[in-house]
């Protein structure tokens, strides 16, 4: 069971309070009514499904109720960071670096 840091509650909480909500940073096209079938397929169906770093959405549904984003490794299930909805994709290389330093210190 994951332990997830909610950027709004500013605390780590059990996965039981959260609901996963799929990939992050997939904006609904502004002109959605006018896009092509291919663009619609791209928006609605096609995903990266990465093995490794994923940017994904969570909702703290049984907590503050907010949707937020997370950067997580899909192999180790480790969270690198979580951040509020609407904030830009963080640069994970920094975090990776400091994670590594932490690991070394242990």
């Amino acid at each position: 069971m994951l332990l997830i840091y909610c950027p709004y509650c500013e605390e780590e909480r059990s996965e039981l309070e959260f609901r996963g909500a799929g990939d992050a940073h997939i904006a609904r096209p502004e002109n959605i009514a006018d896009i092509t079938d291919e663009e619609f397929e791209e928006y609605f169906f096609l995903r990266q499904n990465p093995k490794g770093l994923i940017f994904e959405r969570w909702r703290h549904i049984h907590g503050c109720g907010r949707f937020f984003n997370a950067a997580r490794d899909t192999v180790s299930d480790r969270f690198y960071t979580t951040y509020k909805a609407g904030e830009p994709k963080p640069d994970i290389s920094d975090i990776l670096q400091s994670e590594q330093n932490k690991g070394a210190a242990k």
Binding site: Y8, E11, R13, L16, E17, G63, G65, R66
Partner: protein, 183 residues
Amino acid sequence: MADQVTASRKAALTARGGSAEAILTPAPAATRISLRAGADALPALSAALGVTLPTRPKTSASSGQRHALWIGPDEWLVFDEGEADLMAAAASSGTLHSAVDISHRNVAVIVSGPGVDVAINSGCPQDLSLPIFPVGACSRTIFGKAEIILFRTAEDQFRVECWRSFSPFVFGLLSEGAADAGH
């Protein structure tokens, strides 16, 4: 208009329960609103409601019978243990907000005794130790298969709010937790 009697309330929970370690008492009826607003509306709303809306996660503010619980960054549970009209109070603030009456949606159980945390931890994954969940702290969370709001009113007392139809479940699970808290 025919003459008629006024309909009376029937509470979802009536019986007390629990154990010596964790006594369960259905809380008396209260008025409640789910309050939503942006930061700029807070001073006026606080003034109108007579209680300062907290802005830090997991905190609450109380003034007499009135309590405001931080639920989310723009969400509060405000309740009054009396019969005050919170909707009217919020409306009088004149600010942009959403207040929705949920007095009957929620039911509360008061859990008190030395084993409160153990009883609640029978189904709630949060850390309820005092440093992490001090008196006055509050949080929406999960309890078994029901969502609840926890509000610590004393070292050995919590108010547990849940939706009406979940209250028998919440009370039932709390009862088992309370029974186990004695051991």
